[in-house]
């Protein structure tokens, strides 16, 4: 027994020694990491402190320095007589990065950011108004500019817009005997889905994930029913959620939509098994690669017509700087990025619809396929519009939660939306 205890103790000593060594290694690693962080942050301040350098942040990490987008940024910089330092962020990171930078007093000179974020940043006092820096927004479609307005002021200018519509697979519809011209409202769409499912194919796919993306995809149906974001549990809203829930129950839409992002939903459509997919302008390039014939229709309203879809796309804005002298150049940069000629180039690069009627006409002339998208963008509506501003996020979260609850069967559409309305009312009080 005694021998055993000694052995145990010896083992314990060895163990502590090796543990201490491990801790030492971990510490060295951490210090090294810390040093790296220190270096990189030093680097950054050096770059933005320079008088002739202007920083631009954008959410397009897919474009590298050789892309047309970055070339355009550099051209605009040299026209304004300054060097442009561009940094690309993942779109979900950009909001918090900007808030942190603004807190530290080193926000970028020009910021390109997703439109529903504008009201949040404006609320934080991070952005200048268009009056402050004398931006001309008169040519912009008012429904697109709406997302950047709050309290009668405009914060920035849309660089391009996109929205949602229904892609359809011609082969699947023909095989099931559905004429796309007959799909005009919810009843005829559901009837088409029934035919397709009966023919052994799959109906429709969309994204109902529990994030802003889910709300974005639900909104065309929500607004198409005549519902309003200020009252989530109205009978119209219930009819919109019931439409989706019934599709799932009847097997017209796959159960996986509850976790689908717009990308995974697109991948489902790209298999060629689905008749319809709700997706955006940005998938056009991928649609050509699918290998089957596709078409696009606007999302129908409950009893016909085109439902208002939410506007997507980014705004160019000018964050507040300590030295107001910088605004003159920033203004030139923004004007350059959004002028008519460049707007055509930019929106083509980004696969967006231009925010002005003049450029939209040019886009359709160059590519007639875009007609349906231009119409959809004209009918679209900003999420933070209707003077909701920063109330929108507080309504959107209860809404996507309700969508998830109803689709997963944990609550009826009626009950789920009633809960959502209570939560939204409490949050926006």
């Amino acid at each position: 027994m005694k021998r055993k205890r000694n052995l145990v103790k010896g083992w314990a000593v060895k163990q502590t020694a090796s543990r201490r060594r491990a801790v030492g290694v971990a510490l060295v690693a951490l210090v090294a990491a810390g040093a790296l962080v220190a270096c990189s942050s030093e680097d950054k301040t050096g770059a933005s402190g320079d008088g002739g350098t202007y920083t631009i942040w954008d959410p397009y990490p897919q474009f590298d320095d050789s892309s047309n987008w970055v070339k355009l940024l550099n051209d605009c910089g040299s026209k304004a007589g300054v060097t442009v330092k561009r940094t690309a962020f993942d779109t979900s990171d950009l909001t918090s990065k900007t808030l942190l930078a603004a807190q530290q007093g080193n926000a970028p000179d020009v910021l390109i950011v997703d439109n529903p974020v504008i009201s949040t940043l404006a609320e934080a006092g991070v952005l200048t108004t268009s009056d402050d820096i004398k931006l001309d927004t008169s040519a912009i479609d008012p429904n697109l500019l709406g997302a950047g307005q709050s309290g009668g002021k405009t914060f920035g200018i849309p660089i391009g817009a996109n929205t949602l519509a229904l892609y359809y697979n011609k082969t699947v519809l023909t095989a099931a005997g559905v004429d796309i011209a007959s799909v005009k409202d919810w009843a005829s769409l559901t009837a088409a889905l029934a035919k397709v499912t009966a023919a052994g194919k799959k109906g429709i796919t969309f994204s109902a994930i529990g994030t802003e993306e889910g709300s974005f995809q639900f909104l065309p149906w929500f607004w198409g029913s005549g519902a309003n974001l200020t009252k989530l549990d109205s009978p119209e809203a219930v009819s919109a959620l019931s439409l989706w829930t019934d599709w799932l129950k009847k097997g017209y839409a796959p159960n996986s939509v509850i976790n689908n992002t717009q990308t995974t939903s697109w991948q489902e459509f790209a298999t060629g098994q689905y008749a319809f997919a709700e997706n955006g302008t940005w998938q056009l390039a991928n649609a050509k690669k699918t290998g089957f014939e596709y078409g696009i229709i606007a999302v129908p309203g409950i009893s016909g017509g085109t439902a208002a879809a939410p506007t997507g796309g980014e705004f160019v804005s000018v964050p507040v700087q300590k030295s107001t002298a910088r605004y003159a150049v920033s203004q030139k940069l923004v004007a350059c990025l959004t002028d008519t000629d460049n707007s055509l180039a930019t929106t083509t690069t980004l696969s967006y619809i231009a925010p002005t009627a003049a450029v939209q006409a040019k886009q359709v002339a160059a590519n007639p396929e875009l007609k349906v998208w231009v119409d959809a963008v004209k009918a679209a509506k900003g999420r933070t519009g209707d003077n909701l501003g920063t109330k929108y996020p507080k309504i959107s979260q209860p809404m996507w939660t309700a969508v998830q609850a109803a689709l997963s069967g944990s609550a009826s559409p009626q009950a789920a939306l009633a809960t959502a309305q209570t939560a939204a009312a409490a949050a926006t009080k």
Binding site: Q103, A405, G409
Partner: protein
């Protein structure tokens, strides 16, 4: 060393505490001057209808994951302790889940468990069982993330417990054999007691890792559907970053609750350690 500790541990902790005790809006986050509100954020979090389920999910997720990780890890460690042909190769294979970046494992699991095109449901269909909505039904989502987390945690337990086993002197087993102990008795009388210190530290580290598991759940279910797999970690993230309008205060409060839970576990461990060394 002190400066390092202050800069990288004390200050962030202080900031997080400060965040959780003030009423931050996006405006006051940038411009400063958020009013001190005491425990209001904590009261808000505790009174939130999501609090109860999130606490239950955190506890269930942690306890079930730890139990299975430890039991499976120990069983495998004992199995591999006997050297046989290919044992080293097989052991290396078991390490793969640990080496993979979490985003890869989590995405792979969500493909496997996809309701419509997942391999698991295809297998169930072949066996004539009704497919299960693993990630999209409120009853199964938590189970699914737990299964994935167990798979990820087993290698860690295996490695640490295996090295613990190697340091148990072979003479003890010889002595036990001479005394006529069978395999089962050897395990319970020799292996298990001698492995206790290693087991304790494995479980403690496992607990800390599991409490803060975030990426796995976020990628697989986003804490949904309708909060059915939300734990404190995902809830805290959603409050602070998962929304267009960040709520830093309540987010930090939930984060601090997590830290407190880990701290309590650490204190329990230290107490247990002390008792062990006192005669």
């Amino acid at each position: 060393m002190t400066a390092y500790l202050l800069a990288f541990f004390a200050y962030p902790l202080y900031r997080n505490l400060d965040l959780s005790l003030r009423d931050y809006t996006v405006r006051s986050f940038v411009q400063g001057g958020a009013p001190f509100t005491g425990w209001a954020n904590y009261a808000k979090v505790l009174g939130d209808p999501a609090f109860g389920p999130a606490l239950t999910h955190t506890v269930v997720f942690t306890v079930v994951s730890l139990t299975f990780q430890f039991v499976i890890g120990l069983a495998l460690a004992v199995f591999f302790a006997k050297s046989f042909r290919l044992s080293a190769t097989l052991r290396a294979l078991f390490l793969v889940p640990w080496l993979l970046p979490l985003i890869v494992s989590a995405s792979t699991w969500s493909w496997l468990l996809n309701s419509d095109s997942g391999v698991v449901n295809a297998a169930l269909r072949m066996l004539g069982v009704d497919p299960v909505n693993w990630l999209t039904s409120p009853q199964w989502s938590l189970v699914s993330v737990i299964i994935a987390n167990i798979w990820i945690g087993v290698p860690f337990n295996l490695v640490v417990l295996y090295s613990g086993l190697r340091s148990i002197p072979a003479q003890l087993y010889e002595a036990a054999q001479l005394d006529g102990a069978n395999g089962w008795q050897q395990f319970w009388r020799v292996t298990f007691p001698l492995l206790r210190p290693v087991s304790a530290i494995t479980l403690l580290l496992g607990l800390v890792y599991t409490l803060k598991v975030f990426d796995l759940i976020w990628i697989m279910t986003r804490g949904g559907p309708s909060d059915s797999s939300t734990t404190f970690a995902t809830w805290s993230y959603r409050l602070s970053f998962g929304n267009l309008l960040p709520a830093f205060g309540p987010g930090a409060a939930v984060g601090n609750l997590l830290i407190v839970m880990a701290l309590i576990a650490g204190l329990v461990y230290i107490r247990a350690q002390k008792r062990q060394y006192e005669p």
